[in-house]
């Protein structure tokens, strides 16, 4: 409260100065609709973005505007390597609720936030432009909604960041449609009985921390031709019960690359007894520019990766390393060697 009052006072003081030196007012603005369906006023081309929502910074980097970030989640080792412009930004951590004074001193011209109560109001009260980049309350409830929503979000960032980014976002969406389309062309023909059951877990290193119904991992599993078991729990991020997982007895287990290693997770006899573990079908999801399982831009690669694990026969002709090199060069405009791709697949940092 105190902090908020202080920042309000500062904001008032700044606006009293007339704003001549303030970058906030230095350029023109326009009105857009953000991902929380609000009409918001944003700079025509934002130059100094404070990003309070994890994966939004991945979108910005991916669209080539990493140099516009002044404050964001700490970039992954691969992001730092492929996008050197993100190395020097100031970092924030969970729960990703920003400090207004810090943003003012960084001369942020746009704040991207997650829709926690009071967040938007806080920034607006300080005269900062805001936009919501993602809303968990509005999770898409069908696969087609999910696909549309995913692209809508990428395009939203394209619209937000200016013409080059716009072009890149369109390029991304075309690539996304093409790849997801070819995967679905194969997986949609697989009858329910042939779809392996999938459990996903391992956030924060906890194998029971999972995503539930209508989460990103639910839809990614659908695309890859699996049955997503945790859809029994209607929540975005949630915790499963060990006996529940045992009674599901998944065919395949995917673990988040963010905090999990297969060894430490499966020392317990309960996990060791599951079908997936016994048949060696436990996979740690790769972390590249971002953790693939967190709605990263690399979700296209995640779909291919999961499809290959779930249906090795049908996807025999898909070369993962080649897919990665093509994706990173065609969509991200970055060159990734075979060795780099291998390391990303193994959750290893760059050499």
């Amino acid at each position: 409260m105190k902090c908020r009052t202080a920042s309000l006072a500062l904001a008032l003081a700044l606006s009293a100065l007339g704003g001549t030196g303030s970058p906030i007012r230095a350029q023109g603005t326009r009105i857009i609709t953000d991902m929380d369906s609000r009409k918001v006023e944003v700079p025509v081309t934002p130059k100094r973005i404070a990003c309070m929502h994890g994966v939004s910074s991945d979108r910005i980097t991916m669209l080539g505007k990493g140099d516009c970030l002044v404050l964001a989640m700490k970039p992954s080792p691969w992001a730092a390597k492929l996008y050197p412009e993100t190395r020097n930004l100031q970092t924030v951590q969970a729960p990703f609720t920003g400090n207004v004074e810090r943003m003012l001193s960084l001369k942020a011209d746009l704040v991207l936030y997650a829709p926690y109560p009071g967040e938007a109001e806080k920034y607006r009260a300080a005269g900062l432009h805001t936009a919501c980049g993602f809303s968990a309350q509005k999770r898409p409830r069908t696969l087609s909604d999910f696909l549309a929503d995913f692209k809508r979000q990428v395009r939203f960032f394209g619209d937000l960041l200016g013409p080059d980014a716009k072009a890149r976002s369109e390029n991304y969406c075309r690539y996304f449609d093409r790849k997801i389309g070819s995967i679905l062309a194969i997986t949609s023909k697989i009858p329910p009985g042939k779809r392996p059951s999938v459990y996903y877990g391992g956030m924060f290193g906890n194998p029971l921390a999972t995503q539930g119904k209508a989460s990103v991992m639910h839809w990614m599993t659908e695309i890859a031709g699996g049955r997503f078991l945790p859809q029994a729990i209607d929540a975005n991020f949630t915790a499963a019960n060990l006996e529940q997982v045992l009674s599901w007895n998944p065919d395949v287990i995917f673990l988040s690359g963010w905090g999990s290693t297969p060894g430490s997770t499966f020392k317990s006899p309960a996990w060791a007894a599951m079908r997936a573990t016994r048949s060696g079908r436990v996979h740690v999801l790769p972390t590249g520019v971002f953790a693939w399982d967190y709605a990263s831009g690399e979700s296209v690669l995640l779909a291919i990766y999961m499809a290959k694990q779930l249906h090795p026969e049908q996807f025999r002709n898909w070369n993962m390393v080649q897919e990665m090199r093509t994706f990173y060069s065609e969509v991200y405009g970055k060159t990734v060697s075979d060795k780099d791709a291998e390391r990303i697949l193994q959750c290893l940092p760059p050499l």
């Binding site: 924060f204 929540a235 949630t238 019960n241 905090g259 309960a270």
Partner: protein, 336 residues
């Protein structure tokens, strides 16, 4: 209620609860299967292929979890009784006197600076839990109105360690250390492994054993230092001994199942209402009652459909209103 019958009732309830907890769960095991698994176990032969998973659920998932709930419940409650006794104050409890937040701080510190080995995490958690209590006692243990000052000192030290832990989280590596800290703090009985049960069991059984051995002296310490000294208790030594072992068992309980609030305070209260303040009976009774309380709460949490709710939410929903009620009754309900 007569005291022997209270012991008997709680012991029977605990037994029934163990039986229920072992036979129910989200993994369905029919009575027939259960019988076959038990028969195979007692016959000493390995269960056949069909029974392998039910047997595993029973021995590797439910049994450690049930044991851990019993151990942690007993440890937290006995810790609560001992702290309330030696501090002559029915409103204190280890978790309110900094043990919990000290332990979280210690664990975070170990995760960041000492590597993630279980031994270094648990010993650091224990060290800082003891340190937090020592600081609380140094701040709040003096003065006439120790009831207020101790509780306030507990708040001061807890918030300080909370802040220190938040700071550690802030500087922790977000990919490696932060998840480990969050995981440790959330804990819960959902992930309990036999190795943890055995480690906790060693500490808790020894700790409760020592406390039981000397429990009569708690009565004298509960009267006051001069009283205890006049009646032949070496107050300094006994107080350190009790605090050390109480902190030890609470830290062992917390380090294996995360922050479980209120159990220590509430169970100690209720146990005192039932069997009275004589520690000769209170210590063993609170161990039983605490085991029953945590096991039944955990079983409810485990059986609820959907995702698993952290057990601390349930214990707090029961504990906070109950303490509020006891305070509102004003006629010093703990003096029953």
């Amino acid at each position: 209620m007569r005291i022997p019958s209270a012991f008997l009732l709680v012991a029977l309830l605990l037994l029934a609860c163990v039986g229920f907890a072992l036979t129910t769960g989200q993994y369905h095991i029919s009575l027939e299967t259960l019988w076959k698994v038990l028969a195979a176990k007692f016959a000493g032969c390995a269960p056949n292929e069909d029974l392998a998973t039910p047997a595993m659920v029973l021995w590797s998932v439910r049994l450690p979890r049930v044991l851990m709930a019993i151990l942690a419940g007993a440890a937290l409650s006995v810790g609560g009784v001992v702290f309330q006794g030696i501090m002559k104050n029915p409103l204190v409890s280890p978790s309110f006197l900094g043990v919990t937040h000290g332990a979280v701080f210690g664990a975070s510190l170990a995760i960041i600076f000492l590597g993630k080995s279980a031994i270094s995490i648990e010993s650091s958690a224990f060290f800082w839990a003891v340190a937090a209590v020592a600081i609380v006692y140094a701040i709040g243990g003096r003065g006439i109105n120790t009831l207020t000052t101790l509780v306030i000192a507990g708040v001061i030290v807890s918030t300080f360690f909370m802040a220190a832990s938040s700071f550690l989280k802030y500087i922790a590596d977000p990919n490696e250390q932060l998840p480990a800290i969050v995981f440790w703090t959330m804990g819960g009985l959902n992930n309990v492994l036999w190795t943890q049960v055995i480690r906790a069991m060693a500490i808790i059984v020894i700790g409760i054993g020592v406390i039981l051995t000397f429990r009569g002296k708690l009565n004298l310490l509960a009267l006051g230092d001069e009283e205890a000294l006049s009646m032949g208790v070496n107050v300094k030594v006994m107080r350190i001994l009790f605090m050390l072992f109480a902190t030890l068992i609470v830290a062992a309980g917390s380090s294996s199942c995360g922050i479980i609030m209120w159990v220590d305070l509430i169970v100690a209260h209720i146990a005192r209402l039932i069997v009275g303040p004589d520690h000769g009976k209170l210590v063993p009774f609170s161990a039983l009652l605490g085991a029953l309380f945590l096991l039944s709460t955990d079983t409810v949490v485990r059986l609820l459909p959907g995702g698993e709710i952290p057990i601390s939410i349930v214990t707090s929903f029961i504990g906070a209103p109950l303490l509020g009620y006891l305070l509102m009754k004003q006629n010093n309900a703990w003096k029953a």
